[in-house]
Amino acid sequence: MIRLEEVSYSYPDGTPALENINLTVKKGEFLGIIGKNGSGKSTLALQLNGLLKPQTGRVKIRGMDTRDPSKLPGIRKLVGVVFQNPETQFVGRTIEEDLAFGPENLCLPPVEIKKCVDMALAETGLQKYKYRSPKTLSGGQGQCVALAGILAMSPECLIFDEITSMLDPESGKAVLETIKKLHKKGKTVVYITHNLEELYDADRIIVMEKGKIRLEGEPESVFSNPSLQALGLALPSVIELAELLKTHGMVIPWEKTFSPKSFAEELCRLFLKT
């Protein structure tokens, strides 16, 4: 779906942000990207639909090179990005108008635009806010609107750049659930976060540091990698707990049970039944 070959990028002021990134995002996968502040995650996100163009190497979306301006409308239709701050993603006076912005850019006729808007509202459960102003919504609802604004364009791939970092944990979880639902329906998802806890269910995780990919693999292999803490990342609390228990001689194999729910089930299995 998306292929990056030897991509490097420095900002105009000379800050190097990405160095020789090779990455393939497969159709239908849930890819988690994690790394500490300034590791180049956002820069990578901007590369994925041509908002930034590589200085060396290339980014191809379904074979379309992001450096080819004539391909950009097609790329933006295929890959949508949701950003961190809901407030600076609103372009409309009402939710309806805001969601119409993308389809309007695709030059759809009014009837089609209305259909896209209603579809996006239904996917995110925002129907009853259709005529409200985006300013009157909570942060979590705001991010849902931003997500709906992308969905209205029916992209195949959704990129999320730290969209929960300005939300309280509760609404963050709700937004993440919506995203997981969309993934189940077949959308390709690239989910960028600081918080490993959000990536239990990812198909694959990439750890970035200083513009490079340092680790890559399935969640269990990344979570169990000893260099994770050296890269400035906190382990998910369940795994931290399992590790602490291990130092006390109580070994719970967490590799398959690192979500809180399955960990609890495993504990019960071990202690209640035996």
Binding site: G80, T88, V91, G92, R93, N105, V111, K135, I150
Partner: protein
């Protein structure tokens, strides 16, 4: 919270359903008319015309008077200026002030014209979704060679829409920055020479960052500044042509009589 001036009040009246272009043209024509009329009778007829349209819109009158209120000082000022500085038969004479009869007449007419202008504009904004107005303006500007100015009618319309949506965010940021500086002990009243830069600089930095993020989000959603459609379906219906015809007759009637 204070209700905003010139705001849209949703509804389903005949006036709401007219094409925004019809209403924009009508307001322009009526604006032109208010400055062509000469006597109080005609002003009276125009006020009556406004009230008829206001009734048709089904909206409460305060929606329209809200538009006049912020301008009241200005209107009073031009009235007084005309009253005192027009030469003519003095009504009374007090010190150097000599309000004249001619001044009273001209002042009243001028004030009435401004009020009419504001009321007609309020009629448009109250009965039309702002983005429909910009959409209408866009469609009317499209045939013009704006390209020579380096801008397209689509960009212009988007700019207007974004400003409408973005302005509240700006005010909010002003408030937030003010609160943040006040929390650091900045006294805005006592110390304007230090407090104004202390407010303006972080504000500007914030606004620029907001604008950059917004531009990125817009581009990400496929915005290119070139041709785009709109969710608003603009089509001139029979009612639009009828309305324009009635308006034309009305204008001719006033100007000829």
């Amino acid at each position: 919270m204070q209700e905003p001036v010139f705001s849209y009040v949703p509804g389903a009246s005949l006036l709401h359903r007219l094409d925004p272009r019809t209403k924009i043209v009508a307001v322009m024509l009526l604006g032109f008319l208010t400055f062509r009329i000469e006597n109080f009778a005609e002003i009276g007829v125009l006020f009556a015309f406004f009230f008829a349209l206001a009734l048709l819109s089904g909206l409460p009158m305060r929606v329209f008077f809200r538009a006049v209120k912020p301008m009241r000082l200005f209107i009073i000022f031009i009235f007084l200026a005309q009253l005192f500085f027009t030469d003519g038969r003095a009504l009374v004479s007090y010190w150097i002030l000599q309000p004249s009869l001619e001044g009273l007449e001209i002042g009243l007419k001028l004030a009435a014209r401004f009020i009419l202008l504001l009321l007609f504009a309020a009629l448009l904004t109250a009965s039309t979704d702002p983005s429909a107005i910009t959409c209408g303006i866009e469609r009317m500007l499209r045939p013009l060679p704006l390209r020579l100015l380096g801008i397209s009618s689509f960009e212009l319309a988007t700019m207007m829409n974004i400003s409408i949506a973005f302005l509240p965010l700006l005010f909010e940021r002003v408030e937030r920055t003010k609160a943040a500086q006040a929390a650091r002990g900045m006294d805005f009243v006592k110390n304007p020479f230090r407090s104004v830069p202390a407010l303006a600089i972080p504000l500007l930095r914030g606004v620029i960052r907001d604008a950059e993020e917004l531009a990125l989000a817009m581009e990400s959603r496929g915005y290119q500044g070139s041709r785009r459609t709109s969710i608003h379906e603009l089509s001139m219906q029979k009612n639009d042509w009828k309305a324009l015809l009635i308006l034309a007759l009305f204008i001719i009637f006033i100007l000829v009589l």
